[in-house]
Symmetry: D2
Subunit: 347 residues, 4 copies
């Protein structure tokens, strides 16, 4: 009997990217998974032909309303909703359904941090979907509740946890992440118009205001008991997809380039979706577009006494929907890589 | 025993796109096809990690020189070379090897047209790789020599042959095709620099000078004995991939919107890679990015008395490498759709 | 005493572009013109620092509401409003105020065409602001009511009127205009999001539906009594500014390249804002960005028997705001070129 | 008698941008400055119509060869050449000619830093062209030798010197500058092709390798005697023009948001080309495109204990050619702002 999958929030970029990946999943081709209800809020009633013209296989599907009733009867439910909606849906659907939440609701374990950044009551926390973080893959295998990480925390965490864990740095970290515009979502907005974003670069939610800041801190704090400080600045750039993260921090005493490279090589030796580039090469987002990969380079700036790590991901794939399907594979006991491309669509 | 595949011209965009598609081909996953030699000219000796950082699976491969000796011993050889090189290689490799030429050498049947546009001796012609043109799929099945069509002729031909065949138009056709910059190839050039192409639109090879003009005429001439005239203008636009073709021609007497829609619906009813959009929707290149699809809309401009057809393809996929793999599938007797995505990477 | 200028619709792209040009106008530097009220609808009360951060000189100005009362007391009023608002404002302001309307209301002389395309009552017509069309400069000099042309009609008309007037073509014309996204205006919209428009090309308002079609026909009809047919297709491309228009039509008997070039050279010999490129060069929108120029090339496609004309303008400058200031100069009796750049901001 | 100006390197982006600005300079309109020889290396003999189609006023000019003989007889010579050529030209032209060098040759005062980063003999140093740095305007007034700063150092220095001077930070600084592709220059290159750069973000010259690093350190060192460390990472983004710089450093004890704002407000109160944005707004490169402005925001990230400063400039204008003309104005005793726009070409 095939696994029946629903996507709530199927009108947005994350929801559609989940569907794009599922349509290419070998288990879908084999009839082992099945795409069930596609739901949304104000788009309910709209044909997918209008919502997602890039998915002709779903052209005749019609968006339903996001309600527990519509979502019931599925084995896996992806949630790609504005924050604040997941808890009620999860409760209504019950424990046996696998719920994979691309929203923020269950990412933070610290209720104070949640309230400070989201201004609402903390719903709790679920197993956190970066399988490449030591200890997490095990929690995700067979889980029925999974919080998919934010796009910026994914790029930043994969860039930094090996350094924090190995004590390569004094964890006073400065991060600048340049992102494509799909990160802003698919809702009418003047600030995200093509005319406002093409040909322009703009920092936003600066000086610690971005909601992904506490999530980055939470992730890295798993690897040190030392006080950890993160300055995070997101920059909007004129491309549809991709996040390039540059992270720097003071080198710990005695750390040199060889040590850095050794630590990163060991950390990711067996990770199919993290690619440490050869020395002299730098990550570029084009190389990971549409793929579930994170490309990485880690170097020592001797003169400045700093570690410099650069990572590239596709914000919609490894940054959201690809991670969600990777987690689904783990939850269902499928092969973790299944349906997830390691090749980017470049140029 | 697995089918061994070589790619000559693996350092360019077409060659790398063939590799990207092959890496995701089910026959590759199953071990039934195998990626053999990757060759090029001046890039010989360069690791693929530098040439194609988006294909980490091939990172450790090194480009070899394009010679018959290196290419010998493969069952399928893709050629993605500048024109003028295919004939000698084909002869050297012998009749039993399947050769799929992404270059222009064997596309034109008319030696005079070849000489006028390419200024060299005509090499001949091979079965022409648009399976969606009536009669062509049959020629491609089991073929050992295949000429992959040019990117512009693919978009224009799929847009127009049903109208020519059904006599919907007086075939005095005006075509404007707007293309992304990867169509210009991966060679150092001032005119194709990012700074020259971003934020700009430019027509080029205007007034019938583009080499794809005689190929479009050849294709459409298969469907009419009437004299056929084509005005073709390519326009370079600031996006990496995609061709949007607008074709107009005077309507034949008595043709209305219903008739037009009926003809196009019938023409493509069973074609997996051509998607006639619902009325009111228009093709966009984003929807087909990275996919092997052609999206189409055909309409009647009553006031102007013209048929207006718009098609969208990805120049590197359906326009080149996807078509090449589709042809390989036919040549090898695999399922035609195998390894070729119908979903675009959007946004 | 200085000339006092108001801009209604100062929150939109056209309004802001008028302001950008006025701020660089020599008469502004000399104190001979003065920027008065800046008005809008829902943005009333917003500081210009937020609306137009690119105009720091106006940062402390605040948008007022668009009412006749606010606009009264100015010598020149630019209207950059949605259609349907100009007539009432013009009447309220009275005959002595120079009103330059960037909207569509007074462009069409044919009430039936207006009603068919705009679906409302026809307001009438005003002197039409393409000074380069024979006879128009004279009507604009000293005028107190001016209709600024649409952006597409400007590019198409400058490309074609010399050919129509000189009888170079059979006026059965096919036009494809590729445009940057600022043409869609500055209002919240999903379809014009950066993520929807970057990396994509899309035709829209195809098959004669675009409202600029009757305006193009009206303009060209001034130069022939023969029946004239225009097929017009706009295509949206990923750049902020610029329109590249390709127009083709069957050559009249006996017309050759020399004749074509002679006609165009004569037509624009004394026009400061139309630049006929040297043979072999093609217009590109980058070259005219931010300038009031139209770059042109006109060629003969002998094999297809067609004239091919390509024009490039900046849709916001020569296509709207630059034309508006050019008309203001004529209306006020200033030097026509004053404040209008002939140099594009490239790359 | 008018001032005669030559541009050496007129075929590149910096040289053409100087020309674009000069063509709009009031002194040019008044006949007080005159554009003399335009020279280059391999482009000698090429008409400007091909080199710079955006400057129709110079279309009939032809590029001459860059030799002292051709450059002799001018009052002002702008050099926009690869490094290593300026010293010999300057010597040959003699002391009375004003030489404004957009290259790197005379920027660094420390010969060791020069040799480490440029690998050649140090030519010396000239007055350094950031008039907004305390003390520099005075040196530039009437100077006959001027070193125009690098584009990245301009954005970084304007962002940081007030903080360093006022002791707001512990000067252990982390800088990430995202730049448009015109910074890479106008020479044939695979890495800067449109297809490689559109849709992609890439860090380069990471870990202290970029040649602008010692220039940033030199500039900031003028304002502190404390040891100063700079980690600098440039990121290439898909836009033609613009640099967005994010700089962070640990706050000194007792520094709060009010103090920061006060320092920056005071630093730039009288600077026409530096615009400190209102609180809550962030710089964007679109706002400064084609202008000589630097837009700035300076904030306190309380949780991270860091100062965060973001600046936006146009790399070709304030970052190169605009600064060069600003310096020329000072050297010639013209009004400093003359010919330099404060309004950006947005969107």
């Amino acid at each position: 009997m095939s696994t029946r999958i629903a996507v709530a929030g199927a009108s947005g970029y994350a929801g559609c990217e989940i569907l794009r990946i599922l349509l290419g999943h070998p288990a879908y081709a084999a009839g082992d998974i099945e795409i069930g209800s596609l739901t949304a809020g104000s788009s309910a009633g709209t044909p997918m032909a209008e919502i997602a013209p890039h998915l002709p296989e779903l052209a005749d599907r019609v968006i339903e309303e996001t309600t527990p009733k519509v979502l019931a009867g599925h084995d896996v439910v992806f949630l790609a909703l504005p924050h604040g909606h997941s808890a009620a849906i999860a409760e209504a659907l019950g424990e046996s359904v696998i719920i994979i939440d691309c929203g923020a609701d269950f990412r933070l374990r610290d209720g104070n941090a949640w309230e400070k950044f989201y201004g609402s009551e903390h719903a709790g926390s679920w197993p956190y979907g970066i399988p490449e973080m030591p200890g997490h893959r095990e929690q995700l295998a067979g889980a029925t509740r999974i919080a998919v990480p934010g796009c910026f925390p994914t790029g930043a965490t994969l860039a930094l946890w090996p350094a924090v864990q190995a004590g390569l740095i004094d964890p006073v970290i400065s991060i600048v992440s340049v992102t494509g515009v799909s990160g802003g979502g698919k809702k009418a907005s003047v600030g995200l118009l093509g005319a406002e974003t093409m040909g322009s670069l703009k920092a936003y939610n600066t000086a610690g205001r971005h909601r992904h800041t506490p999530e980055i801190i939470q992730n890295l704090s798993e690897f040190t008991s030392a006080p950890l400080s993160v300055s995070f600045t997101p920059v909007l750039a004129p491309l549809p997809r991709g996040i390039l993260t540059t992270a720097t921090a003071p080198l710990a005493a005695g750390v040199d380039a060889g040590k850095v490279r050794g630590v990163y090589r060991a950390a990711y030796a067996n990770e199919p979706f993290v690619h440490l580039l050869a020395e002299g090469l730098q990550p570029q987002t084009q190389s990971v577009a549409g793929s579930n990969m994170c490309h990485l380079q880690a170097e020592v700036d001797q003169a400045a006494g700093r570690l410099v790590v650069v990572s590239a991901i596709d914000n919609l794939t490894k940054g959201t929907a690809g991670a969600a399907v990777q987690c689904m594979n783990l939850a269902l006991g499928l092969e973790e890589q299944s349906g997830l491309s390691r090749a980017g669509v470049a140029p």
